[in-house]
């Protein structure tokens, strides 16, 4: 089977490939961008002059707080200076969780929508029962590193992450923050090693369902059977979300499965997906989207 990637933003066709060319896939995933149009909520505009919408190409692998400094600075000039709080983002009445990678949020809420993705910016009525606060970049770094550590606990009993020095951990973060592929992957490739086994101990993955909105599904799942058989995406989905299959025998799905903006073939081994399609937090984030 062969792997070919057509780099138009929305249409990526994937068939499997092996070895050296896999690194090209890592680079393609890393370079993925989504075009976003940020607009200040109209009922929060306080100045006579209305701000223009703000257009940005945001990296799929990043987090919104890392990309929206200029958006915040620009729009803050137009809100009531005596009545504003932390900035938060919303799409069609859905508050957007800043601690989810941008690409995952796009897959969940706008995989089939028009481009650019129109997001509304708010500074009032922060939805505390839905969104974590993001008091500073330290919060983003802490969340990112905690997720990386959890992933390695699942993959390697945390042996790899715990054997790294603090500066290696820092390099993962600065590589992500500054969009430096090589800086990031120099360290991350160690977290992707199999350590002499056929696969990771457990697969770090989360399944995100959109309609209806539910907490993500995360369970212990071995990517390789005791006999050495590589489990596929279909195996993972049958184990965790069997209801999305139309019946027990065929692989027909009731919804669409998005990982990194594409619908991977169900026979793809999850070990391979974990090594190549994970986000920088080392988790395989899978979005289940209702067909339109």
């Amino acid at each position: 089977m062969q792997l070919i990637i057509d780099t138009s933003i929305r249409q990526i066709v994937i068939k499997t490939k092996v070895m050296a060319e896999d690194r090209e896939i890592l680079r393609e995933i890393w370079d993925g961008r989504v075009p976003i149009c940020f607009s200040l909520a109209s009922d929060e505009i306080f100045t006579l002059e209305h701000p223009d919408p703000f257009f940005l190409l945001v990296p799929r692998q990043s987090y919104f707080p890392l990309a929206t400094d200029r958006v915040q600075r620009t729009f803050l000039k137009h809100v009531d200076p005596d009545n504003h709080g932390e900035m938060w983002l919303e799409y069609e009445s859905q508050p957007l969780k800043w601690h989810y990678p941008v690409g995952l949020l796009f897959d969940m809420y706008n995989s089939k929508g028009p481009l650019p993705w129109n997001i509304t910016v708010h500074f009032q009525n922060f939805p505390e029962d839905e969104l974590l606060h993001c008091p500073s970049r330290d919060a983003v770094e802490a969340h990112f590193m905690a997720t990386v550590k959890e992933a390695d606990s699942l993959k390697h009993r945390a042996q790899v992450i715990n054997s790294m020095q603090k500066k290696d951990h820092k390099q993962l973060w600065t590589g992500l923050q500054n969009d430096k592929f090589d800086q990031f992957w120099t360290i991350n490739r160690k977290l992707m090693e199999r350590l002499g086994e056929e696969g990771f101990k457990y697969l770090p993955f989360r399944i995100h369902q959109v309609l209806p909105e539910k907490p993500f599904i995360q369970k212990l799942f071995k990517p390789v059977s005791d006999e050495g058989r590589l489990f596929t995406l279909a195996d993972l989905l049958r184990e965790t979300v069997p209801h999305i299959f139309a019946d027990d025998t065929s692989d027909v799905l009731r919804c669409e499965v998005y990982i990194q903006g594409v619908n991977p073939p169900l026979e793809t081994p999850v070990q391979w997906l974990s090594e190549h399609f994970s986000y920088p937090d080392n988790f395989l984030h899978i979005a289940l989207v209702n067909p339109s």
Partner: protein
């Protein structure tokens, strides 16, 4: 899940003018904070994890800074060195809503140093995870009592950090 309330002295004090002597007396005010605690078993770390929320009487959630300031003094130096890896806001794994969380990495190392945990740590399977949170002093089987000991040991290590009071009766679990 445990709900309790916590009385704290007001973080800012109300000033009262004393007209006769032209002085200002400062009166500390006591406020009540409502707390909610959950114990959830983490498959990833194979340990129980404490999640909690604290609300002002207005219903507003405490900020992270306010939560950090409520951590008892004896933990403050550790907190100041490692605050972002010690206690932060997270998404509750079952409810999906924001809760404060004591990071599991730290509780795992806390338990490693406990003699009791070496002697009695059971293989905690995910099926019994939900039952762990509800272990009572009247558990019947020996294995259940051992699991109770582990949980009590863990909870007594982490509860003071988040101002969760524990009755001494918990210490009787597993010792029958």
């Amino acid at each position: 899940m445990v709900e309790s309330s916590l009385e704290v002295d007001e973080l800012t004090e109300q000033e009262v003018e004393d007209e006769e002597s032209n002085t200002i007396q400062v009166k500390p005010q006591t406020r009540v904070i409502s707390c909610e605690y959950h114990v959830v078993y983490s498959d990833s770390y194979s340990v129980p994890v404490l999640y909690f929320n604290m609300y002002h009487d207005s219903g507003k959630l405490l900020t992270l800074d306010e939560i950090w300031s409520l951590v008892p003094q004896i933990y403050q130096s550790r907190l100041s060195q490692e605050r972002w890896t010690f206690l932060t806001q997270q998404e509750h794994p079952i409810l999906g809503r924001p809760y404060f969380q004591l990071h599991p990495c730290h509780t795992a190392s806390l338990m490693k140093h406990s003699v009791l945990s070496r002697a009695t740590k059971p293989e905690i399977s995910t099926d019994t995870a939900q039952g762990l949170a509800g272990v009572s002093a009247t558990s019947h089987t020996p294995s259940m009592r051992r699991k109770g000991s582990y949980l009590v040991q863990w909870l007594s290590s982490v509860a003071p950090v988040v101002r969760l009071g524990m009755s001494l009766e918990y210490g009787l679990i597993g010792n029958n």
